[in-house]
Amino acid sequence: MTETKYLSLAQQVLEKSKDKGISLAEVFLVNSEELTIQVARQKVENLKLAQESGLGLRVIVDNRLGYAFTSDLSVEALNKVVEMALHNSRESVSDTNWELPAPPSAYHEMALYDERIFETPVEEKIRFAQEIEQAARAFDPRVKITERTAYQDSRYQICIFNSLGLQAAYRGSYCGGYAVVVGQENDDNQTGFAMEYALRYQELDPIKIGREAGQKAIRMLGAKTIPSARMPVVMDPYIVTNFLGVLQNVFSGEAVLKGKSFLKGKEGQQVANPLVTIIDDGTMPGRLGSSPFDGEGIPTSATPLIEEGKLMGFLHNSYTAKKFGLKSTGNAVRGSYKGTPEVGITNLYLKPGPVSPEDIIKDIQKGLYITDVMGMHTANPISGDFSLGASGLLIENGEMTRPVRGVAMAGNLKDLLLDIDMVGNDLTFYVAKGAPTIRIKSMSISGT
């Protein structure tokens, strides 16, 4: 879809809304393309090409919110979407906090689009996925099965128009690769996973992805459970970003308003160890979660959430900000054109510390280095309780000695934040969440 056609569509829907007597309307348009290539045994098993566009309409009528969406952009469908949004607003509650943002003075200039991704021929992208697999298998002859290795890219255009004159549009793209391979030895099968996503094609390294997946599968071979005990726990950056995924709900202004965040009312208090600083920043150059504006057209920003252990504030969209008597932090996020802009994250990361991961492990007499967890989606962001299946490596006298699987680790996020007693210097980003290696003073590990 050309930019011009796009803008005229948005304009049309605003006109139609106005004709229906809707004074506050917001049109969100997205058009995207994606390519996925999956390889196993050096053969292209699946190749997926996609094009999708859609439009979402948010209206505020008599302080009542209504939303409707359509993937069909014909005139009839656009008329229908206006009807549906209006209709849906009538049964919603009246609330004076609903508002649409006025046009901001300016947006950040950002380089989010890499033409080179799309100039690269498909054959080369297939080779990319094949090279990931070769590197995984070359790492060790015991890497015997490839679940899949893959190359992916996507480009998209986003446009937001509202009846207050806000008109914002940008285009972006990203690319990446991942590998899931299995190591085999004496009837034992263990999985290794690695991924890398970037804004620019030249930042990706298939060899690195493949080697990492191979290494992770091999180091778990022969894993066994251990007896139950309390012990210090070290988490690799990927596991920490998994925890950030649960914590993002706790930082949401929406959750706070609804009494669903255990950090409610704790602004200014020490809620984490002084080593802990957590920031959400939608303006970081080169990061996948960056964009000039959020799902309402409000410029993104850097929002400190926890600074040296103190709770600084929460993430907001225009609604939650108004209820707090604050300004939006530019954290209205939309999963797609099918949903209203809800509070979410841009780039969420735990700031690195001064220690190398090796030094973190060096001081541990007996502990567990966690490399994989199961059931993170069952962690409860409201109560903070979590209990997860875990696997990793046993640490004895400052060294990783043998692989461990089939244990459970349990705790509460509140305690976890306070019990972080070392933060590594190896900040690593996985898509839009980043963290270094961390150590937890002591956790309950369940085994035999």
């Binding site: 053969k43 098993e45 699946n46 190749l47 997926k48 090409l49 996609a50 999708e52 566009s53 859609g54 979402g56 919110l65 209504g66 939303y67 409707a68 969406f69 359509t70 993937s71 069909d72 469908a77 979407v81 209709h87 849906n88 049964e91 919603s92 609330d95 099965i145 679940e147 299995v182 034992d188 099968n189 999985t191 459970t225 139950s228 308003l257 609804k258 009494g259 669903k260 255990f262 099918k338 209203t340 199961m374 059931g375 069952t378 409860n380 409201i382 109560s383 979590f386 209990s387 997860l388 299946g389 699987r405 089939g406 244990v407 459970a408 349990a410 309950s444 590990i445 369940s446 035999t448």
Partner: protein, 473 residues
């Protein structure tokens, strides 16, 4: 609905570069969502998503392309792109002669969602909310979420299959938050099925709300779960997360064929206690995971996977069945036109046994009684799985003691199934959305009351001894 002649042209174009199989999946989905929080209807969202996915298989290569620009010209272009991506040496292409297979599941939706106004739906949402709030002053928040979908599909392929179907699903879920001092706990309850608005006339939203709120309040008095290995009784009402994770995923043919499952190569072998029979059935009336046809146009069926401990069958879609020169079991499912079908569960359950569930609890010397399971996850490669205990109690000498919170049970699929010691005569279904390869699929699962010799419980309470007050449930 799309025109048959156009579909034939598109499939022909997809085969143009030489292929073994081409398929078109057209979908038109109308959804409505209503959410209530803070005691009021906050958001009502509805919309239309329509698109076409074209799949071409040539040898062992699959290409998939989708678009939601539905002009014939664009669809022919997409078919061309998909065909070219999969191409192989020219193969002969027979003219299509579409036929529709017969479905084994016949039912009628009584009240189509698009014939019921938003006001009536919102009223049901408020009923659930009000009932939950009335349970206890310690209830701090109640979130009610209602969703319905009317999904029309046309599935046509070069094996002459042509299926048109309308799937209707409705669900209602309640999440209650209770708080006392610094302790916050939650309770969740949901209901759903291949039904329209009658779902909420047959299942009272108020009692759904009450149950969720009661669970949240109950959990306030729960103690941290113990740690280590212990015997477990799973109650029939707890749902079937365990069977879904401990063996369901491992019996999906794509994982089996890639040797990514501990159950690979074990057909005909004893993989579970003789007390265990596992069934995946897409033809159960009203159940959330039921379908007349799967997403490849294959009629669904009742598939016995494990019969009295012996592994008899895996779950197949068209592609995995073709690999073995056999027929699909009707387990080919996809989230939408944006996804290629893969083998997925429908309604998965362990068949009831003969034992009296109450007796099974009475005869538990010391262990955990699980009365509600939450979510779970599995690593099919080594069979390790976990599931969350949404509600559970410590039991000592047959007496139900205090509730426990924050517990996950972890085990190894094949090991757990061998450790099943007793199977009750009851059966309780719960609904869920199962995730695999980034695709969500509505499913349901069930288990009878079962005694498991031992599982690892992941709590924070240390080894327990259960000297506390008794609570009857």
């Amino acid at each position: 609905m799309m025109d048959k002649k156009d579909i034939a042209r598109i499939l022909e174009r997809a085969m143009g570069h030489g292929a073994d199989f081409a398929e078109l999946f057209w979908e038109h989905k109308v959804t409505t969502g209503i959410s209530c929080e803070d005691n009021r209807i906050e958001r009502i969202n509805s919309g239309i998503d329509e698109g076409v996915g074209i799949r071409v298989i040539a040898g062992d290569k699959t290409s998939y392309a989708y678009t939601n620009d539905l002009s014939l010209q664009r669809l022919l272009e997409v078919a061309e792109v998909a065909g070219k991506a999969a191409q192989k040496t020219k193969s002969s292409f027979q003219a299509l002669n579409f036929t529709t297979p017969v479905s084994k599941l016949e039912f009628t939706v009584e009240k189509l969602p698009d014939t019921v106004d938003i006001k009536s739906k919102a009223a049901k949402v408020m009923e659930a909310n009000n009932a939950a709030r009335a349970v206890d002053p310690r209830i701090r928040q109640v979130s009610v979420s209602y969703g319905d979908v009317i999904q029309k599909v046309t599935i046509a392929n070069t094996n002459d299959i042509f299926v048109e179907d309308t799937r209707v699903r409705t669900r209602l879920s309640v999440n209650a938050v209770a708080a006392e001092g610094e302790v916050i706990q939650t309770g969740f309850q949901s209901v759903g099925g291949i039904m329209g608005f009658e779902l909420l006339e047959e299942n009272d939203p108020a009692s759904l709300g009450e149950k969720a709120a009661q669970r949240a309040v109950l959990m306030l008095s729960a103690q941290p779960a113990p740690t280590g290995k212990m015997p477990v009784v799973m109650a029939g009402q707890a749902g079937g997360t365990m069977v879904h994770e401990a063996c369901g995923h491992g019996l999906e043919a794509d994982l089996v064929q890639k040797k990514l499952s501990v159950y690979a190569g074990k057909k005909g072998e004893q993989v579970a206690s003789p007390l265990v029979t596992v069934i995946d059935d897409g033809t159960l009336p009203k159940k959330f995971g039921s379908l007349r046809y799967d997403d490849e146009g294959h009629p669904t069926e009742k598939t016995v996977l494990i019969n009295k401990g012996i592994l008899e069958e895996y779950m197949y879609d068209y592609q995995t069945a073709r690999e073995e020169g056999r027929e699909s079991t009707g387990n080919g499912r996809r989230e939408s036109y944006k996804d290629r079908p893969i083998p997925r569960m429908r309604n998965t359950y362990i068949a009831s046994g003969k034992e009296d569930p109450e007796q099974m609890i009475k005869e538990l010397k010391y262990g955990l009684l699980v009365t509600a399971m939450g979510g779970g996850q599995v690593n099919t490669t080594n069979g390790d799985y976990v599931f969350d205990v949404a509600e559970g109690y410590l039991v000592k000498d047959g007496e139900i003691l205090h509730p426990v919170r924050g517990a996950t049970l972890t085990g190894n699929g094949p090991e757990t199934l061998q450790l099943v010691e007793r199977v009750g005569k009851d059966l309780g279904f719960t609904i869920g959305v199962c995730g695999k390869e980034g695709q969500g699929a509505p499913v349901s699962d069930a288990q009878p009351t079962m005694s498991i010799k031992e599982l690892i419980i992941g709590g924070t309470g240390g080894p327990g001894n259960g000297q506390v007050k008794i609570r009857r449930v």
